[in-house]
């Protein structure tokens, strides 16, 4: 990977991690939505630096839509019944996971891999998704339709209950 791609990768990684920490720590749904949009921008930058521009475009659209839903007026907060002790144990477990991953990344003996810059390849990705791996694409499409239909039904039920 040349210097330009590497600098783009590290800057985008910093943007993504800052956005992720913002989703975790910022108060209020507008700020959390903005942080999620920022993390989407960082993710798209990482994909571009990895020569996956088509994935970057799709990820940017999807994450901006997620940020819009999180920051939108339809958002309602739900308090969980889980005790604070269990939630803090879960957060500590995530921190331990990060420590283990960092240790394995620094001490692991990975094979030296070569980086090959690729084209935009939207047509090749489309043929792969719609011809070779069509079953996975259809499964995700069904999941998306069911999720959006379920969300619409849930929102309609809530509006009737008012």
């Amino acid at each position: 990977m040349d210097s330009l791609h590497a600098i783009g990768f590290y800057v985008s990684s910093a943007v993504l991690l800052i956005g992720g920490l913002g989703v975790a720590l910022l108060p209020g749904r507008p700020l959390r939505g903005a942080a999620l949009a920022l993390s989407g921008v960082g993710l798209a930058g990482i994909y571009v630096s990895l020569s996956a521009a088509f994935a970057a475009a799709v990820a940017l659209i999807c994450y901006l839509a997620c940020a819009f839903m999180v920051a939108g007026p339809q958002y309602r907060s739900v308090e969980t019944a889980v005790s604070p002790l269990w939630r803090q144990l879960g957060a500590l477990g995530a921190a331990a996971l990060l420590a283990v991953l960092a240790y394995s990344a620094f001490r692991g003996d990975f094979v030296h891999a070569s980086y090959s810059v690729g084209p935009f390849a939207a047509r090749a990705v489309a043929s792969l998704m719609l011809a070779h791996d069509v079953l996975a694409t259809e499964a995700v499409a069904v999941l998306t339709v069911v999720a959006i239909a379920g969300a619409t039904a849930a929102w309609r039920v809530r509006d009737r209950a008012r």
Binding site: L21, L43, Y47, A52, Y75, T80, A95, A105
Partner: protein, 99 residues
Amino acid sequence: MACAGQSTVSANLVSVFFVAGGIVAVGAFAAGWRRDAAAAVATIPLMFAGAGIAFAGVARFAAAGGSHLVGQELAVLLAITALALVALGLGIAGREATR
């Protein structure tokens, strides 16, 4: 003007794995830290982003020749799945909030 000892910035597969693991851990931390279940749903895209970065990185750094598009394809599918799950989760959370 080039100077002696000048080094180039580079990223390798370990860097990609480190970023991917870090963003998965940040997503898991946020899901455990948030008291609001709807806010925890917003961390699903973060964890899926980590998985997508790992897939795209492995596909791009693969040693064999040819075009490596499977990682890019999985990254696309993960982004769409994250959007669907956030929509469904926020819809269910909004319904539960009225009870």
